[in-house]
Amino acid sequence: MSQYQDRDQARWAENLRRALPDPSAEAAAKSKARVEAWFESTAPTISWQRWSTPIGPLFLAAGAEGLIRISYQDSQAAFLAELDRRARLVEDPQAMAPYRQQLADYFAGERDRFSLPLDLSRLTDFQKRVLTTIARIPAGAVWSYRQVAEAIGKPKAARAVGQALGSNPLPIILPCHRVIASDGSLGGYAGGLPIKRKLLKIEGAQLF
């Protein structure tokens, strides 16, 4: 662009700025306050907390429909990035108390079934099918990936089952740790194999 054109463009920008000046700071603040108030009354709220447990730190998140996420993530930013991007996020340990209570009982070996509202609305149909199926595996028992695939009527889908379990948003409560490889080895786990082993030990599963 020539120097002449540069000057010409700058002059036009100046003319336009004068003809169409910025709004007043008050007008901008008023508009922003209105948008923020609307957002607070419209957006879903997700409460969350970081919680130290006998198996290590966990992040928990819940909304109006129930528990949304139990996460083994190390970083808070990475955990929050997994949650619905439209939602308002509120760090609120008080709101998580009912969920914490049942999980604490479970870690203490005093509970082997959970009775909690779960929000599975963001899962695919296939994930839901796999996760509701493995929710029927009783504490103390283990199934193989292939057994789960057979139980959902897709005996060749063991690999897809593994993937669906790998993206389980509610580990422990939807017990994907009770699914192991058909050769008896532990397979994989989002929280790492030592935690998978600990959970199975809490439940008294007989391995090997």
């Binding site: 336009l16 948008v35 609307w38 957002f39 957006a43 930013a77 439209r86």
Partner: protein
């Protein structure tokens, strides 16, 4: 894993003011009696539409340009081009414009030129008005303007060029206004 995408809350925090400025500028060239109220309504409408479409925003896309696209569509549907004459009360604009010129005479000349420019902008095809405003008042680059106006970069440049050309003509012939 893709980078964490922006949260809607942050979208409001980061982009509200510039979107509001943009819609205020549309309101100034419209025939509404209260540009401040219009800009506020349109800003609210823009964020509401954005919220409803937020799940469909593709990862990695330019969310700033995407917001401008929604804002432009809101402005265009609010003010279909039928007989748009800027009648925003001069007092509203007067209080905002920086004092211009060194003498009262110069001030009158400048105000006359500002009015001509606003009218000329209002008379441009909506796409040219949007392109000129985005480029010279909102500071968007051409790829972002193209995304906001859903056209090619070449077309974005052409719209800015054509728009400026017509504005220039209107300033050269003020007696026709």
């Amino acid at each position: 894993m893709p980078l964490p995408e922006i949260r809607f809350e942050d979208l409001i925090e980061v982009h509200h003011d510039e979107i509001h400025r943009y819609l205020w500028r549309w309101a100034l060239t419209s025939s509404g009696p209260d540009p401040e109220a219009d800009a506020q309504d349109l800003t609210q409408e823009t964020f509401l539409r954005a919220f409803n479409a937020f799940d469909r925003l593709r990862p990695g896309s330019n969310h700033r340009a995407w917001l401008y696209k929604i804002a432009t569509n809101c402005a265009r549907s609010a003010w279909r081009k039928a007989a748009r004459v800027p009648t925003a009360p001069e007092s509203v604009i007067d209080t905002l414009a920086e004092p211009s010129g060194s003498t009262p005479e110069q001030h009158v000349v400048d105000r006359g030129r500002d009015l001509i420019l606003r009218r000329a902008l209002a008379e441009l095809p909506a796409k040219q008005q949007a392109a000129v405003t985005l480029r010279h008042l909102q500071g968007l680059d051409y790829p972002a303007i193209a995304a906001a106006l859903e056209c090619s970069e070449a077309s974005a440049r052409a719209n800015v060029y054509q728009g400026l050309k017509k504005l220039r003509q209107s300033l050269d012939r003020p007696e026709e206004v």
